[in-house]
Amino acid sequence: MIRAEGVGVEIDGARILSGVSAELDQPRIAVIGANGSGKSTFARTLNGLVAPTEGRVEVRGIDPAREPKRARSAVGFLFSNPDAQILMPTPREDLALSLRAAGVPKGQVPVLMTEALARFGLADRGDQPAHSLSGGQKQLLALAAVLIREPRVVIADEPTTLLDLGNARRMARLLLGEEDGPIAEQTVIVTHDLDLARRCDVALHFADGNLVAQGDPGEVIAHYVREFA
């Protein structure tokens, strides 16, 4: 369950979110809305990167503002720019970093790492410089680094930008759990790709820092599109 109760955010005196309330128990949640409407800010409150200035958030029983450490191990976050997420010189080192942070015993690290690389088709690229991977491979590595910690909730902020049709489809299928089962108990996908949003179980529509609609993706999207007609 992801719960927001009257969530408001103000940064440097600027109002970014106000009065956002929702109760979400669907496994796949889409977040849509215009540039600057507050989607990313809302997503960030869910793992404590941003603390609400009013109201409160609860993710799987955890309040990220109060227990940021616990929230971060329960909630994995995938960003849109893979370069900013790959923090170590090689894929293996990058995955090892995640495992270390998760407190996995040293002995298990190599096995889990090899498994994760194989799952995302990176088996023979573990030791090549990460920056020499293609855009699609980098984004898959970033997802691997998130999933290797087995988060209960995954949040993806525009995960398919810059990806080609094949890579975007693969990423979408993975996130939606259509490739080899659900990747987490709940997945939140912030996206401008309305076809991707349509395949979720529920959609939230943000405008000007407000949650203006939530419900069946088909209806919410239709309403959003109508604004621009």
């Binding site: 976050f77 720019n81 923090l87």
Partner: protein, 197 residues
Amino acid sequence: MIALYRSGHSLLHRTPAGWKLLGLLVGAVTLTLLPRTVWTAAIAFASVAALFIVGGIGVGAWARQLWTLKWIIVLLAGTQTIFLGWELATANTVRVVAVVMLAALVTFTTPAEETIDVLQRVLGPFRKFGVDPWRVAFTVQLTIAVIPVISGMAARIREAQIARGVRLGPRAIVTLLVMALRHADDMADSLTSRGIA
């Protein structure tokens, strides 16, 4: 970024990094204290060359390393000959070159990870002052990963200038700084989300 380390299995490669660094320090200090004659300098130079053979580094790499020092050699030898006379100039220059070559040899035979390990141990006592050795090592790795990204940004900015038909000169560094700092903040979000720092 290709490291200067050269893999191998020589005696020097097998010697622990800490010992090699200690040896380098002792060697450098000894050479500074030894009497400054052409002969001591020549012996030091020859010994280092011999160590290159022991380390299995080869004459080619030795010569290339020497070549990278060409400017220092010219500068030192040149001015010192004027002020101190040729004998002292030769002794001093050869001695400096010997120490630098010895240090290079340590670099050639020690993998980066081993040096980072030594560094973490050396930094241990500084914990009291708020230095976290693991964080230092981590930041070093982060830097290695981000060098190609920053150099890619520099390339994008160069292209944008060319495409727009403008030449900003050093002014373009501001754009690079802005992109780099925003990138740093994105990385920080990822770092925090992954529970690392």
